[in-house]
Symmetry: C2
Subunit: 378 residues, 2 copies
């Protein structure tokens, strides 16, 4: 997926290509990324989970392909635009994890359903289901729908128990739809740093989901899929035996937030940081202060400042210095042209600011992978 359209394409194959990148630039450590791919797939295989990784993290056809090659059953997408970008790139098994409500959205669903080998979407209201039925009719084949269940986050989803059962019945009754199961995402639980507390809250959320699945199956409606979970609960979700498949996303990259999440015995998650933002010092005229070329347009700021990974003195720290620049305090000895690697505070929205991954093996620039679904949030 190399492309001549990218700024740094002439550096592909060069042994010191990384150091010559125009910055700010997203850098992906290929070996660490591949170890993360394997570690999660092996975990899922071992505990009898299917893996349907979430593409909202990477938004990239190249990465989706590698996840499928490693054993994933398909990809999740947050939005229709993301699904369309992956479908254009040949990814043919997609689950859209947010409800869609607008009429232009229903037409786009019809096209995706007609085109893809396996397309599914979630519903959490009668409004969605009505539109999806039209989309199914328009696409000429039944549209597969999961009921999105609110297990405590209150962001999307219908309440567990009777309300979810009612919606499942409505879907099952439509000649244009096929009810295939449930989705539940305990998003607020993922980043609880302490393991036992995260485990307790996760299992409580999952119990509601399991009870709802049993209620629906008890009403004679098959419920083969229960989809959800994430990187922060990858091992707790296995214990609960409610999910049939895991929607983890961030495990491939890790970020500063997930770096602080612990599993049993206070160990870190068994995934490595593979994603960095490379930035260059452009000014250093004040003692102890350096200014870099990466600010609000290079990092998503919702989770605080990035961590300095390499290239800055021990004890130095990064602060946001506006739209275009970052500052490094404790920058003694740094000078214009110095290259710094930062760990993204929050990977998904940071990736969404960039057009490409610069894939490296050490300092060698191995390839550039497009982020085809960047900005496809509609």
């Amino acid at each position: 997926m190399s492309s001549g359209a990218f700024l740094n394409h002439e550096l592909i194959g060069k042994t010191d290509g990384r150091r010559g990148l125009a910055t700010p630039a997203l850098v992906l450590d290929l070996k660490a990324f591949e170890r993360n791919l394997s570690a999660m797939q092996e975990h899922c295989s071992r505990v009898g989970f299917k893996l349907r990784p979430h593409a909202k993290t990477h938004k990239s056809v190249s990465i989706a392909r590698r996840q499928l090659q490693a054993g994933a059953i398909g990809l999740c997408c947050a939005k229709l635009g993301e699904a369309e970008a992956l479908a254009e790139g040949g990814i043919d098994s997609l689950l859209v994890t947010s409800p869609v409500v607008a009429s232009q959205g229903f037409s786009r669903i019809a096209k995706l359903n007609a085109k893809l080998k396996d397309f599914m979407i979630v519903a959490d209201s009668a409004h969605c289901v009505e539109g999806y039925a039209k989309a199914g009719a328009q696409s000429g084949k039944k549209l597969k729908v999961l009921v999105d269940v609110d297990v405590g986050l209150h962001r999307t989803g219908i309440l567990p128990g009777e309300p979810a059962l009612g919606l499942a019945k409505r879907i099952a009754a439509s000649p244009h739809l096929e009810f295939v199961g449930l989705q539940g995402y305990a998003g607020a639980v993922q980043h609880i740093e302490e393991f036992e507390e995260r485990r307790k809250q996760s299992l409580a959320a999952l119990k509601q989901l399991g009870d709802t699945r049993d209620m629906i199956a008890g009403a004679g409606i098959p419920c083969p899929i229960v989809s959800g979970g994430g990187t922060g609960t990858f091992n707790i979700d296995a214990e609960a035996r409610v999910f049939t498949e895991l929607q983890a996303g961030s495990y491939i990259f890790m970020d500063k937030q997930y770096g602080e999440v612990k599993i049993a015995n206070a160990a870190p998650l068994p995934f490595e940081t593979s994603l960095f933002v490379q930035t260059t010092v452009i000014s250093a005229n004040m003692p102890g202060l350096a200014t870099t070329d990466a600010g609000f347009k290079a990092f998503a700021t919702d989770a605080g400042p990035p961590a300095l990974h390499a290239g800055a003195p021990e004890g130095a720290s990064y602060f946001y210095f506006g739209d275009e620049q970052g500052g490094i305090m404790g920058a003694a000895g740094m000078k214009p042209g110095d290259v710094v690697l930062c760990t993204a505070p929050h990977c998904d929205p940071t990736v969404n600011l960039h057009d490409a991954y610069h894939v490296v093996d050490g300092d060698k620039l191995v390839d550039i992978w497009a982020i085809e679904a960047r900005g496809r949030s509609a």
Copy 2:
């Protein structure tokens, strides 16, 4: 600049096109935008200022063209990538307002200098000047350089007085460079909400810049350009008579931050909000709470949450609900499909998340303008 590549192109010309947009979507109120264009140009003409608007705000060839048609002398760009995108769109007078230090950057400068009618860049170190001299030689014509002076922000710039004079001499002595003046940006001053305090701090910063200009001119080096200032100091900068040209950016859009800035007698700035993010309610299963389709990937979050402009009940407020979604509290009566307009908390990095402006006159979708320099931060 309409384009068939955009999701909503089939709505162009429709009288209710705005309401049918796939969301989240950037919406630009054409009439308000045009009034802002005129108001700033008339102010500059009245006080005898040139206007060189900053393209880091809009990153769009369509908007740059309109600023030039209204009377601007050229555009500012924050980064080379931004300048390259505007140059590709035919904008031929550009000032790059950040120092560039990397060797790949010097080659790109050479190409821009060779191609454009009028290209200028700032320097704040001997390191820059050495590289720029190579770029000038490579481009076959003298490269115009301004010295970037640190008037208190300590982000970029060399100290005023002797250090700035020394750098000006170094530039003037190069056969490949032409020293054309100074740049100074008192960025921290722009958003001081109270007028007299902002005026006091601005004038102090500008005095240092004026003294430095006099020192350089006194040394026999002509210093025709003094460039800087912004939307928040547009009228204070006029009073100081130091700048020859104004680099304002945000006046065309305004945002929540600048909406809180006051001028003399506590009046708001004489510009209107013209830029909005349109979002749609996708879920409303909890009393008083609605979930929309715009989160961290639709808004830059460095300046807090957006304001609700239209479509939500009086007293309702928006909160970030993760990467893909927003929440509305006080959402009584809202339902899936409801369309909401939000005012961006901070326009520049929010624009940088989107690929196009949906230009509206009331509810009519008049056009779609590409954001060609989106993401061109390197």
